[in-house]
């Protein structure tokens, strides 16, 4: 079973190394969106500081949306997904492998970039640490919940918009607790409650998402 997981993750990572543009696109998008705000709003340190958590988190959500659509689309188009459905490995294992690969290519780079782009907003060191930790816990939730949406909208015309409409409302709790934790840290209070709640969301989606995604993929092919 672990062998199956490993081979799917390795395959997806290798595939994206061959299409580097796809991976870089949403990272560049993330950096640009975050950078536009200080330029548009003006150099008012207090305003920027208070807006920073929300801006970075919304940009991370939108960047995740960009990459979600591709999670299963090419495998669906060329028939690879068909082979995965009747693979010797359980579909749940394959789906978990796809989630891990997606997070390594979208969530993790965004998390690593966040402290760098956060400097533009004059965030304190404490706040930058909380921002990074909140993204580290929160971005896997985006891959997990987003994966369910991506599987549900497979093969649907105008799937991209539908995916956004389906998934963005479900991202709201992640946004609130992710950005909220950073604001608490800026105010000198403990971010632990917010981060714990994010962790709870992560635990819950780890249980539900692989199962729901597998079911949605089977329906897409039925």
């Amino acid at each position: 079973m672990l062998g199956g997981l490993q081979s799917i993750v390795a395959r997806d990572l290798r595939l994206s190394m061959r299409r580097r543009g796809d991976v870089l696109n949403h990272l560049v998008f993330f950096v640009i969106v975050v950078t536009l705000f200080p330029l548009g709003v003006g150099a008012e340190p207090n305003l920027l500081r208070s807006m920073a958590p929300g801006i970075v988190w919304v940009a991370a959500l939108l960047a995740a949306m960009l990459s979600l659509q591709r999670m299963f689309a090419s495998d669906y188009a060329d028939g690879s997904l068909e082979q995965m459905l009747i693979s010797a490995h359980p579909l749940g294992v394959i789906v978990v492998g796809k989630f891990i690969a997606h997070w390594l290519l979208s969530g993790l780079p965004v998390t690593l970039l966040a402290p760098v782009v956060g400097v533009q907003f004059d965030l304190s060191q404490q706040a930058l640490v909380v921002l990074t930790v909140s993204l580290l816990v929160g971005t896997p939730v985006l891959s997990l919940i987003g994966g369910v949406g991506a599987a549900l909208t497979l093969g649907v015309r105008g799937g991209g918009v539908l995916l956004a409409l389906l998934v963005l409302p479900l991202f709201i709790p992640v946004l609130i607790f992710g950005a909220g934790g950073v604001s608490e840290a800026q105010a000198g209070m403990s971010a632990a409650p917010h981060l714990s709640l994010l962790g709870a969301f992560l635990a819950m989606s780890c249980v539900v998402a692989p199962w729901a995604t597998s079911a949605a993929l089977r329906v897409a092919y039925d």
């Binding site: 395959r11 290798r14 595939l15 060329d78 039925d222």
Partner: protein
């Protein structure tokens, strides 16, 4: 090995076929024939376990395939209408990945031999995006050279887009598999001569 009872299939509101019965034993070949849109691919997908029948049961060694799942998938080789070939990967990488999905590890030497046999030896390292339609089909079919231990092969239009030499190779692979005691289900519009212990065809009417 494979036993199908009273199978019915619906696409949308249209009933493609119903009351289909057949059994396939060791060394058995089933040819599915019929005009376009008569449900050949649908039948193959049902038997592969990719979609669920509107009615009827499919049993593999006496157990319903819906309950066997991966245990059935491990014994099944399915080459569908879509090639499942990634354009970014070379023929060799595509072959290795598709075998891994089937739960088989393959050595580089075995893969090289398979690609040689199917006539892709000189294109083995080239990204599949530079291959022609027929060559991509051959990449998908190269698995057959390393699939001795899958008892059941399900092949959807395996001969489409192949030239005469590749076609002869695939026919000989199917022959060898049947001689080993494997079972094969395939659809085709071409006249091919395959020797089988038991052979029958189902003709679906549109």
């Amino acid at each position: 090995m494979l036993e199908v009872r009273d199978l019915a299939c619906e696409r949308g509101d249209v009933r493609l076929f119903s009351g289909l019965d057949f059994a396939l034993g060791e060394g058995g070949l089933l040819l599915v024939q019929g005009p376009n849109g008569s449900g050949k691919t649908s039948l193959l997908r049902l038997v592969a376990g990719l979609s669920r029948p509107a009615a009827g049961t499919i049993r593999w060694r006496g157990e319903p395939i819906a309950e066997l799942r991966e245990a059935y998938a491990r014994e099944l080789l399915f080459v569908g209408h879509a090639n499942a070939v990634k354009e970014e990967f070379s023929a060799d990488e595509n072959l290795a990945i598709s075998l891994e999905l089937c739960g088989r590890r393959s050595s580089a030497a075995a893969r090289a031999e398979a690609l040689e046999r199917i006539g892709l030896a000189r294109r083995a390292r080239l990204p599949a995006r530079y291959l022609s339609q027929g060559q991509k089909r051959r990449v998908a079919l190269a698995r057959l050279c390393l699939a001795e231990d899958f008892p059941l092969w399900i092949l959807d239009e395996p001969f489409a887009a192949l030239d005469t030499r590749a076609l002869a190779t695939v026919v000989s692979l199917v022959d060898a598999h049947l001689a080993r005691g494997g079972a094969v289900i395939l659809t085709t519009h071409q006249e091919v001569a395959i020797a089988a212990r038991t052979q029958f065809s189902i003709v679906l009417e549109g």
